[in-house]
């Protein structure tokens, strides 16, 4: 079992303290809200997509450190990427967090995002880490509001 202190590494605490790309985009082309009704995590994500490229991205909201750091690192990661590459990253992150992708063995593009690998051992926190990614997926699919529960439960989906 991963020590949860290992999960609360300096990178995550740093992104929690100083989230990157925090705020709104006045010229957003895509916008989505993510809710985790169980713990009250709530983030809003703005994207500016030009052609096939995510030109800029911003998020804001109220959430735990895991969720906020995940959102912050996600925005830093997908900015400038194509929508298809971002979607691939969503799939890989979800796989890592739910334990279907082993970052040590399976090919992936997660890079520094592997600091979140430990959440797979904290079932109650998996949704916190996935929420921003889930919201990103919804935004590019042009869904306005998504929840981590019910039909959208990321844990149930990957089970």
């Amino acid at each position: 079992m991963t020590d949860s202190k290992q999960l609360y590494q300096e990178v995550i605490l740093d992104h929690n303290r100083k989230p990157r790309n925090y705020g709104k985009l006045p010229d957003a082309t895509h916008r989505s809200e993510g809710l985790n009704p169980l713990c009250g995590d709530h983030i809003r994500l703005d994207l500016k997509v030009a052609g096939d490229v995510i030109e800029s991205v911003a998020f804001e909201g109220q959430s735990c450190a895991i969720c906020k750091a995940s959102a912050s690192m996600m925005t830093a990661n997908v900015k400038g990427k194509s929508v298809a590459d971002a979607e691939r990253l969503v799939g890989e992150f979800r796989g890592m967090a739910t334990g279907t992708l082993d970052v040590a063995k399976d090919a992936n593009h997660l890079g520094r995002l592997t600091v979140f690998a430990g959440v797979k051992d904290l079932p109650s926190r998996v949704k916190c880490a996935i929420l921003p990614w889930h919201t990103l997926h919804a935004a590019v699919q042009s869904q306005a509001v998504v929840s981590t529960e019910g039909d959208n439960d990321p844990v149930a989906q990957s089970a």
Binding site: S4, K5, Y8, L13, G40, C64
Partner: protein
């Protein structure tokens, strides 16, 4: 803040022999989260079970089990007697007048739904009003909302002040000639507030309105006498009073239970069935359709006996020491805010550490062996009243020790250091 004045400084010389009682709870010694001794402060969500209750479950399953109320053979009689004995144990525990006023349900949620259906369908119609409070658990909100929607009735909510105490005068003002029912919590699970239920019951009765009390967070902490209270209904749940899950209790005055509609239809709740008409059984059986949780009811009887042997006055005194000590220590910490500072509180402390989300706090406290609940505690309206999405909550039982408060405080300090 009023709590500091109302709470007296603790006398650490309590005569309560905690270690003796802790020895009854095998799980407290068996479990070591992250290699640390378990500091179980999530009793508000569910309490642990003493060996005496575990033994009773095992004895029932190994020597006494059969279906009840329907067999002529020895085992069926044994099981029926044990089940009915448990009903009388609950009757004495609550000081109900008659054993037929005790109905076994599956949890307190089920007990409240039973009344919402049974009373609501018989007596509530369009334009009528039902009163609850701002302190309720979702279990004492949603069933009434559903009833109101079905009947075109209106739900009215008694407000609380900034300490989390009910405003009694505002509660009384909610009554009107259309008020048909009141349902209030005895103790708030999210804030620990103890409601002035005796006064609330008297006020309801002055307006000629029956009242139900949700005792889910009360019966394990303080003596409850339903005849002295004179409430019309009182409900609690087995797994929060050292019994098993899957069992709950509804006390109701016989005169009401007899007039109410059954909740579920099926076996055991009938006297005779033809395809044209069914005659319902007498109370309490009218409300116990189908095979009940027999083992759980018997174990709950043992659990309330266990609590009675220790004595609820003594339990309340020890838990008050825990509350005062924990409140003082947490208040002394920079950055820790306590939500719920009513003058009368059970040993429940909802708190926030700096601006750290309660989920992060809970995950990191677990690292030190400390189990607390984090989230909205199924009381979202209370959380909204204080403008927060969630809190961390330490909820105590009589088997908790003052030293465990020290472990909690140290663990919170470590969280603060990590996030500094």
């Amino acid at each position: 803040m009023t709590a500091a004045n109302a709470l007296k400084t603790p006398e650490p010389t309590s005569t309560f022999d905690v270690d003796r009682y802790r020895a009854d709870f095998p799980i407290l010694a068996n479990v070591h989260p992250h290699g640390k001794p378990l500091v179980y402060l999530d009793n508000g969500a569910s309490s642990q079970m003493p060996q005496q209750v575990i033994d009773r479950l095992v004895r029932y399953q190994t020597h006494e089990h059969a279906n009840i109320h329907r067999g002529v053979h020895t085992l069926s009689e044994t099981a029926t007697n044990a089940y009915e004995h448990a009903r009388r144990q609950i009757q004495h525990f609550l000081n109900a007048k008659e054993d037929r006023e005790i109905i076994f349900t599956s949890n307190v949620t089920d007990s409240i739904n039973l009344v919402a259906h049974g009373f609501g369908r018989a007596f509530v119609s369009e334009g009528d009003e039902i009163i609850i409070t701002h302190l309720e658990h979702h279990a004492n909100i949603v069933p009434w909302q559903m009833l109101c929607e079905e009947r075109g009735a209106k739900l009215k909510v008694a407000p609380i002040d900034d300490s989390g105490a009910l405003i009694l005068e505002a509660y009384e003002k909610l009554f009107s000639p259309r008020t048909k029912f009141v349902s209030v919590t005895h103790v708030s699970n999210a804030l620990g507030t103890i409601n002035p239920v005796k006064e609330m019951i008297d006020i309801a009765h002055r307006h000629g309105v029956p009242i139900m009390v949700d005792g889910a967070q009360a019966v394990q902490h303080m003596p409850v006498d339903v005849q002295a209270l004179d409430c019309d209904f009182y409900a609690f749940t087995g797994h929060k009073i050292f019994g098993p899950t899957g069992i709950g209790v509804l006390y109701g005055k016989a005169e009401w239970l007899e007039k109410m509609k059954p909740f579920r239809g099926g076996g055991d709740m009938i006297l005779s069935v033809t395809f044209e008409k069914t005659t319902y059984n007498a109370i309490p059986f009218k409300f116990e359709a189908g095979t009940p949780p027999i083992a759980q009811a018997i174990a709950l009887g043992e659990a309330v006996e266990y609590v009675r042997r220790i004595g609820l006055e003594r339990i309340a005194a020890h838990e008050h020491d825990l509350l005062v000590y924990a409140t003082d220590r947490l208040r002394a910490m920079d950055g820790v805010r306590i939500y719920g500072t009513a003058p009368h509180k059970a040993a429940v402390i909802s708190f926030y550490v700096n601006d750290i989300h309660p989920h992060d706090v809970g995950t990191l406290l677990n690292e030190e062996g400390v189990a607390v609940r984090t989230g909205h505690h199924c009381a979202q309206p209370v959380m909204r009243r204080f403008g927060i999405p969630a809190t961390a909550r330490a909820s105590f039982a009589f088997y908790n020790k003052l030293e465990e408060v020290d472990v909690l405080v140290e663990a919170i300090r470590k969280v603060q250091k990590l996030f500094a």
